[in-house]
């Protein structure tokens, strides 16, 4: 993980910073330059609530190298109250329990370790809502 790339993503990954289109009010996460709904280019800074609902999900059994020891784990598309969708793991529960419709809380976790010497990468994950 190159340091500059990781560092640029901190506001997105650590604080769920997003953008609300001034023209059509669509919230995009992460923030971007051109609104996918109306092509508007004026934005208001906002951030997502730390919660959402599972839209679809799966349980990854055969994982990429960095996630090898965590398998099996559930990954889901989650929609927040602002209408933004994001992809994230859902942990702290039996992966089979993660199904469409489940309510989750978003929390700060360590997403990957780059071997024994690389940087540690943090971000958000879902856990079952209390």
């Amino acid at each position: 993980m190159p340091s500059p790339r990781y560092w640029r993503e901190i506001p997105t990954r650590y604080r769920l910073e997003a953008g609300r289109c001034r023209k059509c009010s669509k919230v995009t996460f992460p923030a971007r330059r051109v609104c996918p709904a109306c092509r508007g280019t004026e934005w208001e800074k906002t951030s997502l609530s730390w919660k959402g609902k599972v839209i679809t999900s799966t349980v990854v059994q055969v994982a990429p190298t960095e996630f090898h020891m965590e398998a099996p784990y559930a990954v889901a598309v989650v929609e927040t109250p602002e209408g933004a969708r994001l992809m994230t793991q859902v942990v702290d529960c039996d992966p089979a329990a993660v199904q469409p419709g489940m309510e989750v809380a978003l929390v700060f976790r360590r997403l990957r370790k780059e071997g024994h010497g690389g940087i540690l990468c943090y971000g958000f994950k879902g856990i079952p809502a209390a």
Partner: protein, 382 residues
Amino acid sequence: MREVAIIAAGMTRFGELWESSLRDLFAEAALEALKAARADHVDSIYVGCMAGGQFVGQEHLGPLMAEEIGMAGVAAMRVESACASGGVALRSAFLDVASGMSDLVLAAGVEKMTDGADVTAVLATAADQEKEAYHGITFPGLYAMIARAHMQAKGTTAEDLAWVAVKNHRHGALNPKAQFGREVKLDEVMCSSVVSDPLRLLHCSPVTDGAAVVLLCPLEHAKRYTDRPVKIRASGLATSTLALADRKDPAFLDAVELSGQRAYKMAGLTPADIQVAEVHDCFTIAEICCIEALGLTEKSAGRHAARTGLTALGGKIPVNTSGGLKSKGHPVGATGIAQTIEIFEQLRGEGGARQVKGARLGLAQNMGGSGASSVVHIFEGV
């Protein structure tokens, strides 16, 4: 625009080809096509390859491959759209001839996947790095999520998915170039190990080496090379969001629908006119979603097609008579051209045991990533 024809094809076997390097694969397929056309030069070369750089450390494939077949100096370039790289190589070649710019063009697809690279990690670069790969999702994982959404919305079952694998293996067993030349039973598919729930090992296309090449020329020149050219009636290309979370409906492949609509419009045809099709079954769920999005079945009826024989050889609309990606193999960049070759042979009556009787109009659809790009070509036997 001039009318364009495919006049020759060449293809390696698909499989774990330990003895062949990336350039060996290209050369074998290209020389077979050139020999069939009795051609010794081309005006330009398009090489579709998803990840030469990541799989074998080799970029800059345009000049490399031109030189490999003794044609250094020829206009050549590599084109990429993840797993749709072959399809966009065909489209680029088509535009080059149709525009009047070139008179004989080579469109190739090639991929060398078994030289030791971390295949899962390389394929994941077709997904969104920041929004998806960062969180530990894999390709099978993305399609598994599409499958789960499809199951929830349309009642598709694990068995419906398994039937696609059974059908395609039955076809692939008749294809001497297929990676897997054997049939599989339904319960074998249903009991194979889980890769990413609900997708099991036998729902997933394999890791494969291979190359496929076609030669294109203006239709008016075709008789110089072959008695039975196949006309390219249409080319439709479309994109969608890269990240699955940004799609309007994770169970629906909108890029496939759009690319299909563009192709049908250009050809002046409807889905009902298509008599044989190759669609992108990187995972069994993908075939179901693609035939729905292409209008080859009703929007919610895709799941029944394999089981009822609708899309089997002998059925109303045979799909993936080559064996599909599932049993023929999926050397990523080569697939789009390999699909084209299957239709080319079908429309020339050269399908052998896989022949769809009297087929005159065929379609090939090649898709990238989890449906972020899709390219459709419609062909006519002349």
